[in-house]
Amino acid sequence: MDALLQQLFNGLVSGSFYALLALGLSVIFGMLGVVNFAHGAFYMLGAFGALVLLDSFGLNWWLALLLVPIGLGLAGMVVERLFVHRLVALDPLYNFLLTFGIALILQDLIRLKYGVASQPYDRPDVLGGSVNLGLFSYPKYQVFVLIFSIVISVLVWLVLNRTRVGMIVRASTERAELTKSFGIDVRRWITPVFGFGIALAGLAGVLAAPMRAVNSGMGGDLIIVIFAVVVIGGLGSVFGSVAAGYIVGMLSAVGNLYVPALSQSLVFILMALVLLLRPAGLFGREEGVLA
């Protein structure tokens, strides 16, 4: 029993990363209609950003948690302005070529400097040690990651559902052309939304640095699962992406306990089932964001 609970908790912590990454991917897809295959690379850059800030500038993890998402968000906006916005008029194949190409370039640039070995990054002191959760004790840092990711997800949900900016993003996501005819300059919002999605990936990367292997391949391994998460949650559904993130995290963790051989494929089996039974995803459009 304890083992199961502990494994569920592990799943929630992995799910935190899935949720943050799927959230950004989903918002970007909704607003731009672009599937960002470079999302994992920006997650990886987030972790290396924390590393560089510490090694070269002596800035601690807490500062990295603030600065890296801002920096990557701005970089994302530049990438959108320079390249991604050209995709709108093109065949979806170019979407894949461009964003996957960006991912490979970023990955190889990091490999050039750091090789393929994982880089060590220490947990921040205050978050060292473990907390007693009653039935078992658990690393304090992991508990923090879980709470932090939930807080961020809730904040994003609130911004999308309770503010005027969020309303504009929802409207533009649903029907961009029509939204223009209601006096909204949709184009103006596209770049910041892309930057915001990238910032979330960077944030996840910073969170990962002290507990995951920091290497150039860390994003590529994750991104496939994230795509499955977004599909399970429902393309473009923010709530769905987050919920599916935690669900998939727990599913793989529990699977790992009972059917270790299958644990890697469980998420894809779930995706296939969802696509068969509810093609719009668990929380796709029919229910609406309001539900």
């Binding site: 504009i168 929802r170 409207a171 223009k180 005819s181 209601f182 006096g183 609406g288 309001l290």
Partner: protein, 248 residues
């Protein structure tokens, strides 16, 4: 070819400067040219309808005026300003209120959000309370998703939205389509009220009888052209002929 395709030389009344002036508009979908040089005017404060068979190009014309049709050529003026090259959101901010043929109600926005999405663009923007007074059903369901409304209610929402923003010119694409006679009458009321407030309306309408009860003038469109301009008495006299022509 049908029989009433004689192009009348008589131009619409021009004693007042038109609020909307459309000159020689063409538009195509891919290779197919669907507007062949449309010209029309709507004077300030007038209600003008656009009638014509399915596929005549009415919707395409309205989309072109709104700036939603990229292949458009020709000239569109609003109150003397050339808006032909302007982005749709700027046209909206100049006071064009679009009621699209599919109602344009957002599923991911609540009824109230659907109403408040467009910014206020004119001094006569209706406050929400006034909207809810005129459309009590929208008040009752303000928190529900827009698409949870019935077809008729969505149509009300679509019209209420452009009143809320304070548009000075409405471009309404078949707002009565598929509505019960009761709701059609209600929409007629709304159009008359709006007109009394000085709002100008260009209305696509298949129901010529209804059209003659709300409008000052009518343009008949066929195959991408305006083929006639009629006043109410002409519409009444020729109602049967027009109905037959429209295939209703």
């Amino acid at each position: 070819m049908s029989r009433c395709v004689t192009i009348l030389a008589s131009s619409p009344p021009t004693w007042e400067s038109p609020l909307l002036n459309v000159a020689d508009i063409t538009a195509r979908y891919g290779e197919a040219q669907v507007l062949q040089g449309v010209s029309l005017e709507v004077a300030k404060g007038q209600v003008v309808t656009l009638v014509g068979r399915n596929g005549a190009g009415k919707t395409t014309l309205l989309r072109s005026v709104m700036g939603l049709h990229r292949s458009m050529t020709g000239r569109v003026e609003l109150d003397g300003t050339n808006i032909s090259r302007m982005a749709p959101h700027k046209r909206c901010r100049l006071g064009l209120g679009y009621v699209p043929d599919d109602r344009g109600v957002y599923a991911s926005l609540s009824v109230e959000e659907n109403l408040t999405l467009p910014p206020k663009v004119g001094p006569d923007a209706w406050p929400l309370e006034k909207v809810y007074e005129a459309f009590p059903v929208l008040a009752e369901r303000r928190r529900q998703a827009g698409t949870h409304l019935s077809g008729g209610e969505q149509q009300m929402l679509s019209i209420a939205r452009v009143l809320r923003m304070g548009a000075r010119m409405l471009l309404a694409d078949e707002p009565t389509e598929g509505l019960s006679p009761l709701l059609v009458r209600q929409i007629g009321e709304i159009i008359r009220t709006v007109k009394a407030h000085g709002v100008t309306v260009l209305l696509i309408e298949q129901n010529v009888h209804f059209a003659s009860t709300v409008a000052d003038r009518h343009y008949l469109m066929a195959q991408g052209r305006v083929v006639e301009s009629l006043d109410n008495s002409e519409v009444e006299q020729r109602e049967h002929e027009l109905l037959e022509y429209l295939g209703i």
